[in-house]
């Protein structure tokens, strides 16, 4: 029995010192690590696909009708770092980096806010979409139908209905 305990002791000594020297030296994280997400303000078009797919609703979209802006808010406190927003963004604006040192003493520091200006409908005057989103969609629409993008959803469907009813003749 004594020999057994000495063997265990010897094995424990052989392992040596394995302690990492953090926080006095930095450590590396592997490639593909899912760290802090951040929105690239040049690329975001305000479509809201990320807010639709986020499981804990850490990303949220609000429309401010008085100022005519769309507000995208990212709250890191509730983020679960799953990466679904990165999967569905059409312009690759939101990406997960490799940072993991995100602590803060104030919960307001965990927010990122992006505000984008919206356009008014030519017929009814309501704010309906951000300007960047209209320009992004316009590139995939044939030229003769592009003026329809300047109307909001209700006015646009009324105009298209007229075209369809004419086409029946």
């Amino acid at each position: 029995m004594k020999a057994l305990r000495i063997e265990i002791f010897k094995e424990a000594l052989k392992t040596g010192v394995v302690t990492k020297k953090y926080p006095f030296e930095p450590i590396e994280v592997p490639e593909g690590f899912r760290g802090k997400p951040s929105i690239d303000t040049e690329k975001c078009i305000g479509c809201g696909a990320c807010a639709n797919v986020c499981p804990p609703s850490a990303l949220s979209i609000e429309v401010d009708a008085k100022r005519g802006v769309k507000k995208i808010m990212l709250f890191l406190g509730r983020c679960i770092f799953c990466g679904r927003c990165q999967d569905v963004c059409p312009t690759e604006a939101i990406k997960l980096s490799r940072e993991f040192e995100l602590s803060s003493l104030n919960s307001k520091d965990l927010y990122q806010v992006v505000e984008l200006k919206m356009a008014r409908c030519k017929t009814c005057g309501r704010y309906y979409a951000t300007i960047r989103q209209i320009l992004f969609t316009a590139r995939n629409v044939p030229k003769d139908q592009r003026p329809l993008l300047l109307l909001c959803d209700e006015c646009r469907s009324k105009v298209s209905a007229k075209y369809i009813s004419y086409a029946r003749w």
Binding site: M1, R5, E7, R34
Partner: protein, 551 residues
């Protein structure tokens, strides 16, 4: 005794209409008065075992409350679901607890959430909902929403009334190494040093996951909430849910995705068993063992981080496949890590289990005989240590397990030491399975092509978690949502067996016994000890209790 699938199904046909939902799973619809007979035959005569009871509010589909009893038959490799309907005005169904004591908690839960009354149940009391829940409010019914519950029915003032410092509250939240425990506590009734009776009060961790999943989340968001049900075996819940939806919708998952899922499942099993060894050694007072096993475990966590991007909560699954690939460099790194882990474990863990102190404190303690194990329908290593050979990977193969060779370790003694040996053998079986998977992984796609989920279909997903079998029952709904989802963790069936194991034992052995079933919401370190003779009540820490006299 019918033994082939055809004979079993012919026998079932006498009780009601039988239908095949998907591969190897059948559903029998019976009337309420025949439920006891058919369940008794399935559990005691045909060699199957009872798994879970699911209640469901189907008044929007067909106007009734429904109950599903799920049975798994290992010999014939099929699952049978017994389905009955209850009157929507006053739902009543005969209880099966008198024949199968393991169904006790399942029926109490259906009563808590839906208001279904089980006739002849021994004690139909509140099980899961908090102590201040109002009467006659059943949260999982479809006519009450989360908004109403949160803001109109439940008020925070009711919580405040109970919080007076003079009232006797036991603080069940325990903080020492390893303080990974969720709050719950055991009440042990002692005479001197011997335990006479035990009671259990738990479910402090009830978060209302099922209601959130039915109301707010879509089908592809639920894997992320399923992973966070448990902090150690979360990936098995993820895979079980995805499998249930894939079977219900008849989606074909590519073979490479199945191999990747199996690799991650086995990695999770190794790290969970090493964690359990550390906890057990610590409770027995052997801190060297705790530190050495967790040292080896860190290498596995680093490997998981390289493969998936996070140490826990891998986030790799969507319905229809996986999200990330494994390339050649990662496979080579995994094989090197596994060699190191196997070498280290064979040198130290083997010797630690032969120490006289460990053996004397775990042999012949916490006995669970085979009959008791069958009555309570325990699963996982607890069942395998009592002589029952049951393993979902062998008898109901899923993912890539049908193509692997492995053994299922079974021991007969039924004490804590057998459970130690079962888990020790399973680690090495997992390492050999991982080597087979990594060397033979085929090429192919990662995600199925057309993922369309039709409405109101049933699916049953089974996986083998480190603690036993995981069962998820899913009924799909409309508009990309789920109508009913019932995840059942294996510890649900295993925890009632501690109350049988603790009677007659010494107080000092109680922590080791409670830890030996590897409770997923594991034991707290505060235990209330009630001395029956003197009529006193003391609160002790588990560490103090476990330092008592060893046998």
């Amino acid at each position: 005794m019918p033994t082939s699938i055809y004979e079993v199904l012919e026998l079932m046909r006498k009780y009601g209409r039988i239908e095949k939902i998907h591969k190897d799973t059948y559903i029998v619809e019976v009337k309420a008065d025949k439920v006891k007979d058919i369940c008794s035959i399935l559990h005691w005569k045909l060699g199957g075992h009872f798994s879970v009871t699911v209640g469901s509010d189907e008044r929007l589909i067909n106007g009734y409350f429904a109950i599903y009893h799920v049975f798994l038959l290992d010999e014939q490799k099929i699952s049978i679901i017994v389905h009955t309907k209850a009157n929507p005005a006053i739902p009543k169904i005969p209880s099966i607890t008198p024949i199968i004591p393991g169904a006790n908690w399942h029926e109490r839960e259906a009563h808590d959430f839906f208001g279904i009354v089980f006739e002849n149940h021994p004690n139909l009391e509140r099980l899961i909902l908090p102590y201040d829940w109002p009467e006659k409010v059943y949260p999982l019914r479809k006519d009450v929403s989360i908004e109403e519950l949160r803001f109109k029915i439940l008020k925070p003032e009711t919580v405040k009334e109970k919080v007076k410092p003079e009232e006797e509250y036991i603080v069940p939240i325990g903080p020492y190494h390893p303080a990974l425990h969720e709050p719950e506590y055991f009440e042990l009734y002692v005479e001197g040093e011997r335990i006479v009776d035990a009671k259990y009060k738990g479910f402090h961790v009830h978060r209302g996951i099922e209601k959130v999943a039915e109301e707010r989340l879509t089908i592809n968001q639920i894997p992320f909430i399923a992973e966070r049900i448990c902090g150690i075996c979360g990936y098995t819940h993820n895979v079980a849910y995805c499998q249930a939806v894939e079977y219900a919708a008849n989606i074909d998952v590519p073979l490479r995705a199945k191999y990747i899922r199996s690799i991650l499942l086995e990695i999770e099993r190794i790290h969970s068993h090493l964690l359990w060894f550390g906890v057990l050694f610590h409770l027995l007072g052997f801190d060297t063992g705790f530190m050495m096993t967790w040292l080896v475990r860190e290498k596995i966590m680093d490997l998981a981080e390289i493969l998936t991007g996070n140490r826990k909560n891998y986030g790799m699954n969507l319905v229809g496949g996986v999200r990330r690939d494994i390339n050649e460099g990662k496979i080579k790194l995994s094989l090197e890590t596994l060699d190191y882990v196997e070498y280290k474990l064979r040198k130290i863990l083997n010797k630690m289990l032969k120490l006289k102190e460990i053996m004397s404190r775990t042999k012949e303690i916490g006995l669970l005989s085979r009959e008791e194990a069958r009555k309570l329908s325990v699963v996982g290593p607890v069942a395998r240590a009592s002589g029952i050979s049951t393993d979902v990977r062998k008898y109901h193969p899923y993912a890539a397990y049908g193509e692997l060779e492995f053994k299922v370790p079974v021991y007969d003694a039924g004490d804590v030491y057998s459970r130690v040996l079962v888990r020790y053998d399973e680690i090495f079986e997992s390492i050999s399975m991982l080597k087979q998977l990594l060397k033979n992984i085929p090429k192919g796609d990662l995600m199925a092509e057309n993922v369309e989920v039709p409405e109101y279909r049933k699916g049953l997903g089974l996986t083998e978690a480190p603690r036993g079998e995981n069962v998820h029952l899913v009924i799909t709904g409309r508009e990309n949502k789920v109508y009913r989802w019932r995840p059942r963790a294996p510890s649900y069936n295993n925890v009632p067996s501690t109350l049988v194991m603790l009677k007659g034992e010494n107080l000092a052995d109680a922590p080791a016994i409670i830890a030996s079933i590897d409770p997923c919401f594991s034991c707290t370190d505060h235990v209330v000890v009630v001395d029956v003779k003197r009529g006193t009540r003391r609160t002790l820490r588990l560490k103090e209790i476990s330092r008592g006299r060893a046998r």
